[in-house]
């Protein structure tokens, strides 16, 4: 069981590193961030609110961009079918996919975001809040995205449709995340508990649905 998980994870890792996908998401994040100071047109520091929202919007879009090829390549070249034929439990595949997606589109952003926030706004008091809420929110983005990425496997138009359908489901997470980031006192606040609750339910619920969807779509 564990062995299989590591094998699939390693395969995903290699795929991500060999194709340029791994660097694509993080560079997309940085590029998206750069737009904000340019669009505001001032050479000064950004306002704190603006820099926070810039970071959240860039995180959202970097996640969505990476979501498109979460299952696409494995579906197209028959790897998923191979897993099913050889009776590999799909739960393991789904969890491995989610983990590798998060490692390449969530973790780098979490590490880099506090630095970006400081560079953009010159303000570092709320960096801990930003860090914690990003740690809680990016796995939820990945988990919500995974069933929807699996749903779109059969359709002909994938990229734009996927973004459009996934975005409404991300909105509550964004709202709680920004509320958690904005609060200035360093106490752990209610939004974090809420995000944690969503994360712990989602960790069971969304992979389960994804497995069902993959099974019914591939058959």
């Amino acid at each position: 069981m564990n062995n299989l998980f590591y094998i699939i994870l390693k395969k995903d890792f290699k795929d991500n590193l060999l194709s340029n996908k791994a660097w694509f998401t993080i560079s997309f994040f940085l590029l998206c961030l750069i737009i904000f100071p340019l669009a505001f047109g001032s050479s000064q520091y950004l306002e704190l609110n603006v820099s926070i929202s810039a970071i959240w919007i860039s995180t959202l879009f970097a996640n969505l961009i990476a979501l498109d090829h979460m299952y696409k390549e494995d579906y197209n070249d028959g790897t998923l079918l191979y897993y099913i034929v050889n009776k590999v439990p799909l739960v393991i595949v789904v969890y491995a996919k989610c983990l590798s997606h998060w490692l390449f589109s969530g973790l780098p952003i979490i590490l880099i975001a506090p630095l970006c926030s400081y560079v953009f706004s010159g303000y570092s008091e709320n960096n801990l809040n930003l860090f914690i809420s990003l740690i809680l929110a990016t796995p939820i983005f990945t988990l919500i995205g995974s069933p929807i990425a699996a749903l779109m496997l059969g359709s002909s138009l994938r990229g734009a449709a996927l973004t459009f359908i996934t975005l409404p489901f991300y909105l509550p997470i964004i709202i709680f995340g920004v509320m958690g980031t904005n609060i200035n006192n360093s106490n752990i606040n209610a939004e974090f508990y809420l995000l944690l609750a969503i994360l712990s339910i989602g960790m069971i619920f969304f992979p389960m649905i994804t497995v069902k969807i993959l099974k019914s779509i591939i058959n």
């Binding site: 069933p147 749903l151 496997l153 059969g154 409404p168 489901f169 509550p172 649905i209 779509i217």
Partner: protein
């Protein structure tokens, strides 16, 4: 019990069965809506707090109920489809979003027209309003996913799974006024302790919502018949 329902499973028969129900719906809906409009606009008393603007409630609340109810309907039809794999369910579910999206739009627009005189703004980013806007986008996504799979068998499955995922939003909308302090007033009709609303306003509201609900059913049934006929057309034209 379930055996007895099997004879309604044939889409052709189903289409014939809903024909009289549909007509009854339409011809009771129109007088009910007319009576509700007249009572609501001219004979119901103004609210002691909100004055005359309370008259917007009769259309705002009734369409809000319809748009929530429509989602619950889609959710249950999708669940039934996934359990029994019976295509008529998803055929019915697929016709709902387009009708429901109009009611959601009505709710949002009349709500903002009500908000201007009472709150002072057309739009606030509070929990109830935002979650209703998300409902609108989920309906759009459902329509979109239906269109994206026009020529693919997986479309039915994708539609029903997406509607199940989207159902998370429904309890959030219902309880958003209780969980967060918002500008939007809490529910005053459907409560555990009975309605707190004045009886003279409750009567036109109930007449209005029954009428709109029947109208909604009429539109859904007509669309279902069209969809069944569309399937028939596809079948007939593929024979050549």
């Amino acid at each position: 019990m379930l055996r007895k329902l099997h004879k309604y499973a044939n889409p052709n028969k189903f289409s014939l069965i809903i024909m009289p129900i549909k007509n009854v719906c339409l011809y009771t809906a129109l007088p009910l809506i007319a009576i509700g409009l007249i009572i609501g606009l001219f004979f119901s008393p103004p609210d002691y707090q909100q004055g005359e603007t309370v008259r917007i409630m009769y259309i705002h609340v009734s369409s809000a109920w319809i748009s929530l109810f429509a989602y619950v309907l889609i959710f249950f039809l999708s669940v039934f489809y996934l359990i029994w794999k019976f295509p008529l369910f998803v055929l019915m579910a697929k016709e709902i979003p387009f009708v429901a999206i109009i009611f959601t739009l009505i709710t949002l627009i009349t709500g903002s027209l009500w908000g201007k005189p009472t709150w002072g703004t057309y739009w606030v980013w509070d929990a109830r309003l935002t979650s209703f806007l998300i409902l609108l986008f989920i309906y759009l996504g459902l329509i979109f996913i239906d269109k994206a799979f026009k020529y693919n068998v997986n479309g039915d499955l994708s539609f029903s799974y997406l509607s199940i995922i989207g159902a998370i939003n429904i309890p959030i909308i219902k309880f958003s006024v209780d969980w967060w302090n918002t500008l939007h007033q809490p529910a005053s009709v459907i409560r555990a302790s009975g309605p707190s609303i004045n009886i003279e306003m409750l009567i036109p509201l109930m007449i209005m919502s029954t009428g709109v609900l029947l109208l909604f059913f009429y539109l859904i049934f007509t669309n279902i018949q069209s969809a069944i006929a569309e399937k028939k057309i596809l079948f007939l034209s593929s024979k050549d």
